[in-house]
Amino acid sequence: MSVEITGDVADRLAAVGALRRLADRLEDTTVEEAMRTGWTWPQVAEALAVTRQAVYKKHAQRLIAAGVSLRRRTG
């Protein structure tokens, strides 16, 4: 993907906020998809380059409430 930064300072500052929102949204949807398809917390944490505790704290409550069956480890 080629990325061309355009616009004035206000546009570029707004772009930072929009990219953060997009990244958060993409993380929410993709972590949910991963956990629904059998990934484990350590695998998701590794893929996101964050700690297991961080990914669990951020997503577990939401996914448990949604009825997603969560796996703690492989095997």
């Binding site: 990325v3 929009a18 997009l22 958060d24 409550q61």
Partner: protein
């Protein structure tokens, strides 16, 4: 806190949750006011469309073009907390009303419209809504 503010914060939290946001921002307060028919004639769908357009426009400034919608994520079941832009809008509203118990929907709308930069002014501008005209009209409503 006034009962109006408690009620609008609960609705704004719902708007934030639907948005997949862990914080309530000024644009969620605006959506909540519109949901309650208290956004100076701006309806919820108009504001939602303006916010979506602002998001697309801002991403484009970074060279990112979404060609399809992201699949919906299960919203957080925790209550979103007040973000910086919503706090600032509420502070402006309370200052304009002189006291928290006297804060009305018009005061809150004024506080939101006075957001100096970022999502709300950009979304209104892109939707062709004149913020100065709207602000003046709302200000008249707060000082009859």
């Amino acid at each position: 806190m006034s009962s109006f503010l408690s009620q609008i914060l609960a609705e704004a939290a719902e708007q934030a949750r639907t948005d997949g946001s862990t914080t309530i921002e000024a644009h969620h307060l605006l959506l909540a006011l519109a949901h309650d028919g208290a956004a100076a004639g701006l309806d919820h769908a108009t504001i939602r469309a303006a916010l979506d357009r602002e998001f697309t426009h801002s991403l484009a400034a970074a060279g990112v073009h979404l060609t399809n919608d992201l699949p919906p994520a299960t919203p957080t079941d925790t209550t979103p907390h007040l973000g910086a832009t919503a706090k600032a809008a509420i502070e402006r509203a309370v200052t304009a009303a002189h006291h928290i118990r006297d804060t009305t929907p018009a005061h809150l709308l004024l506080g939101i419209l006075q957001t100096p930069a970022g999502t709300v002014p950009r979304a209104l501008h892109l939707a062709g809504i004149n913020r100065d005209t709207l602000t003046a009209a709302v200000r008249r409503e707060t000082n009859p």
